[in-house]
Symmetry: C2
Subunit: 249 residues, 2 copies
């Protein structure tokens, strides 16, 4: 039987999602927890990796087991540390694949643009200088659409690999001193959200113009953008398995 | 010269405010930072202690030095870790005392009453069962006024010591699934806020009635209340040096 799980985690303690030989990862932590419950080794497959320190509210993974466990969600959570939480467990058909079937993803990036707050330090990026939200919104329009994001990712790819992605929407909202940038796209390359975010921050500071950003994108060159916002402000909020709808929240 | 400082900190890494032989404390961390700046040993005096894991947004302390440092705030912060932040440094007269002169304190207690969120685990108390806010508000009225809080504190005191404190106001607000309880009082005994908070939570769950809470208070007995909410939801928000005003936020 195949199960689809939605999981939230605090990324601070982890060297990211993907299993590594020496460092603590979220994948390994969850695999160990599920393995203890079903009494056999389990491999989980996520919708995609998240990097070290990146948080998730709605990461999705799937796995298989023949064991039937009552109240599977509660059972797995009982084996997990406080910073990883299974939000739901759902039986799915064998053809469901958490990565290949994902139609869109939503990431949020949080910026504290007020006074420094130690309690938020690991959960947002701190920018002291006041950001011009209108400038950031206008700059964000450069990234909307089906575009070649070669300039805005750090993936080590063979030249031919596809670096075209679609960003459906970028929402920028401010509440008190907290700025949230929401990205909805059909997929995101490595560091893509963080590189775009830092570019929008630089735009909001007036350090880069919209035409310069457009030129960076048009270059399709990995050296074009040296911006990269810190990991601790980034949250994988949702993985969607139905087509993205324009008015969807 | 005497300086008054306002400091915020994330309590998670610390065994509380007060210096201890073996454990990392906030007092020690700040004293070391200031000592490095002024080049002599410094002792700082806080408005009061906070316990292990308790956070602060507006703790106040004072200290003395003869050294004149330009941009003192920035200099101290440059020597502090990310989870302790000096919000302000102000020269005061020699008769200012952070503890003896404090007229009121405000504590906030945060309760996540929705879905468990790993990113909030160290910054709020998680209560799964829906709390009845109206019941909690009514129960909170028991604690308003100048009262003997012997039943609601864990201080090891000689029998004669004063356990009478004044709570001016308790505000309970709910925003989405986050409940904030704000306490304004002329002073709080050890564990007093956490013990009252857990009592209000139990009231909100229907596990204790208002008349039972009144009886607990009237008993003036340290064994009367066994409730104690977890430290990680508690924030020292403000220390006031002017008389508390009824309509003050």
């Amino acid at each position: 039987m195949r199960y689809k799980c939605v999981v939230s985690y605090d990324g601070n303690r982890f060297a990211g999602w993907q299993k590594q030989a020496d460092d603590l990862t979220i994948q390994e932590t969850i695999e160990k927890a599920i393995s203890r419950i079903v009494n056999h080794e389990v491999v989980i497959v996520a919708s995609g990796r998240t990097d070290a320190k990146v948080h998730a509210l709605g990461q999705v993974f799937h796995f298989e087991t023949d064991k039937e466990i009552s109240n599977f969600q509660k059972a797995i959570n009982s084996q997990l540390p406080d910073d990883v939480y299974i939000r739901s467990v759902e039986e799915v058909t064998e053809d469901f694949h958490s990565r290949f079937d994902a139609k869109y993803k939503r990431y949020n990036y949080l910026i504290n643009n007020g006074e420094y707050n130690p309690c938020m330090a690991n959960y947002s990026c701190y920018i002291k200088e006041k950001l011009d939200i209108d400038l950031m919104k206008r700059a964000s329009e450069v990234f909307i659409g089906t575009l070649d994001f070669t300039s805005f990712n750090a993936t080590k790819l063979c030249e031919n690999e596809n670096q075209i992605r679609t960003i459906y929407k970028i929402e920028i909202t401010k509440k008190d001193d907290l700025i949230t940038i929401s990205y909805y796209g059909n997929g995101f390359l490595r560091y893509m959200v963080r590189m775009i975010t830092q570019t929008l921050i630089e735009a909001g500071l007036g350090s880069v113009s919209i035409s310069e950003i457009q030129k960076m994108l048009d270059k399709k060159d990995k050296t074009a953008c040296s911006y990269n916002a810190s990991a601790n402000g980034l949250y994988l909020v949702e993985v969607g398995y139905k087509e993205y709808q324009k008015n969807m929240e």
